[in-house]
Amino acid sequence: MSKATFKGGIHVTGHKELTSQATTTVAAVPDKLYIPLSQHIGAACAPLVHVGDRVKKGQCIGDVKNFVSSPIHATVSGSVAAIEVMEHPGGSFVPCIVIENDRLEEWHESIKAHPDPAQLSPDEIRAIVLEAGIVGMGGATFPSHVKYSPVEGKSADTVILNGVECEPYLTSDHRLMLEKSDRIVAGLGYIMKCVGCRRGVIAIEDNKMDAVAVLQEAARSNPAISVVVMKEKYPQGSEKQLIYACTGREVPVGGLPIAVGVIVNNVGTAAAVADAVEFGIPLIERYVTVSGDAVQKPTNYLARVGTLFSELIAQSGGTVGEVERVISGGPMMGKTVFSPDVPIVKGSSGIVVLTKPTGQSRTEYPCVRCAKCVDVCPAFLEPTSIVKLAKRNKWDEAETANVMSCIECGSCVYVCPAQIPLVQYIRRAKQAVLAGKAKAAAVK
């Protein structure tokens, strides 16, 4: 079988064997859960509960009437202990609803299985997805109901489920595919119905052939769904690179996947859609990998949203060695947190805890024009040329050099022998270009 892939990219040591073989552990639910009012791209929710209120599992406790937003739900039953600002794994500080767990696990009355989910109309499915607070679970956390809403003049013919998981250490999607293949296939069916697509594709990297086999078996009954094997390469899971590998279509610069008739969702999102449509269960728990060379017993967990990173690290036997970094997500595109006392959110695919790397400290050398960054860039940019402009604050020229097309995958930094923080300079240039545009708009 030929394997689908994209041009450019890098090979990174996966370290996936640390967690990929063991069955997922159901994480112990802590006494207190911290549920951020913003776990998605878009407007933050306003709390619907007050301190002291009793809440039940699955109850909607935060919402806002903006189109691009997503409600949040209580992940246990208990009482609201506080509403306070705390660190979010995304790097900002946001208000969180703190729920004291009463350990009764009492479901809210609104949670009801649907008698006949096959009869639901696309609009009804979309409404359920919105109410269940489902967002992109691969990390981007874009509200799914927005993605499924029709765009004028554009229609999708293919839904791609992203089961690539190209980030090192992470295996949560891998385990989910092995353990919940029927949920993923069912969810894909509902998404295809919701957006009116006849073709569904599940994309998996060739380092997870066991998951390929399981999903092929699960999808056997539905001829509209196929499993595509992708070459193991980073960033294969990046949306635009994935679409290209699966369909040969290039999303135009500045465009969304719908521009080429494609909708991409994470495999976890599809499973969450199935649970919401069939059982009425909102997105309150997810698969999370806890791994890294500083973790005693790397493990995959099914954890409630609002569980602190530190709780899961402790359940993994704590840390070994000198902990240097705690990363929310994978080490290529994840964010380091200031403290391990941050909660799991809807987009938390993993927690990677790393010790200080051995060997020389990283020093930046002058660019030697080796062009390795040019060779690996999956957006076909010349990172070194853009960075030379960014270093001199030449934002207009950086924009002409297509700096805005950078997907910030970090491949250039990974390979750079001069150890130049290329993508960091590029991020700065992108911000400056956006700021310049905002300023120009304000003047008009």
């Binding site: 902990v323 040019v374 010349e382 097309s405 910030e408 390979v415 923080p421 991020r427």
Partner: protein
């Protein structure tokens, strides 16, 4: 898990990196030059050793002095000066007086590298300019060639071909092994190929440059050979003689002075190959590898500009 005194490091992604760095890459290049170095020492003995040592030491000292004088951080560790010195010595005649070798090496480092801005900024390949400088300044000493192992004065294979003195041309196998007159590190094709393959294997050079460079020379000389009736021997003789292999694998693949785009590297190689054939067949010198690469160095920015990749999902990348 953490206390105030035990803070976490917060960095911007990516948080992991490949172990490759400039010093490691330079060490790999030095390693790749080792077979040619050993062959040069075996064939040309003590005089060659003198030239090599004086070039490398002079390059090192010049690098150090330049960094000091310019108030730059002394980071000789990148060993790029050693690479320059070694490469220069490889394209010099073994009997060259060592002070000339040292002078050429200093010129390469001071004028060609540091006056243009130091590591990564030079327009020309420093080693090749060093050679061109020496050839212009000391034309007699720079064209005094000796036979390997016994040191008897003789002409290089390309010299014999150019002058057509009736002296018999060396056999191809001699060119392959390196038992012919020539520059210290350039006579043994097999030694250079081993080093070149190592660099390819380690991912430090792109196959496009040597393949397009050598391919162009082969094709053009094959055409000439067919017309002249030299057969397959003729293009193979051109491929294996002079500094062509050293140039194709170690000079035209220099990171700093060659294009960054893939298409650009192919054009660069084709340009070098065409110029080599033109100089060898129509020029005044028997050999033209150094000048051909230097001429192509000049057009590198132009090549880069006109071979920009199309950006993913859009029009032309014209940065």
């Amino acid at each position: 898990m953490t206390t105030q005194n035990d803070l976490l490091l917060v960095t911007s992604s990516p948080h992991i990196h490949s172990p490759d760095n400039v010093p490691n890459a330079m060490r790999d290049v030095l390693l790749a030059l080792l077979p040619a170095l050993l062959c040069g020492l075996y064939f040309f003995g003590l005089p060659a050793l003198g030239v090599i040592v004086s070039c490398v030491v002079s390059a090192y000292v010049s690098e150090l002095l330049c960094l000091k004088a310019m108030g730059k951080e002394v980071r000789i560790t990148e060993q790029s000066a050693a690479v320059t010195g070694l490469l220069l010595s490889f394209c010099l005649p073994p009997a060259l007086p060592i002070w000339m070798a040292a002078l050429g090496s200093a010129f390469a480092i001071v004028i060609v590298k540091h006056l243009f801005g130091g590591l990564g900024q030079n327009v020309f390949n420093p080693a090749l300019i060093g050679r061109a400088f020496l050839l212009a300044s000391f034309p007699v000493a720079m064209t005094h060639w000796s036979k390997p192992l016994d040191g008897v004065t003789t002409a290089t294979p390309l010299g014999i071909l150019k002058e057509a003195t009736g002296q018999p041309l060396p056999h191809l196998s001699e060119l392959f092994i390196g038992t012919v007159a020539g520059s210290i590190g350039e006579t043994s094709a097999i030694a250079i190929l081993i080093g070149g393959c190592y660099l390819l294997y380690r991912g430090h050079i792109d196959w496009r440059t040597p393949v397009s460079f050598l391919g162009t020379v082969f094709l053009l000389t094959a055409v000439v050979g067919t017309i002249k009736g030299g057969g397959i021997q003729y293009p193979l003789f051109h491929l294996l003689s002079g500094g062509l292999l050293m140039g194709a694998f170690f000079m035209a693949t220099d990171w700093v002075t060659t294009p960054v785009t893939k298409l650009g590297r192919i054009l660069f190689g084709c340009g070098c190959g065409s110029l080599v054939v033109l100089i060898r067949l129509k020029g005044g010198y028997p050999e033209g590898v150094a000048y051909s690469i230097l001429l192509m160095n000049v057009v590198t920015p132009l090549i880069d500009r006109y071979t920009k990749q199309r950006v993913f999902g859009g029009g032309q990348s014209n940065g």
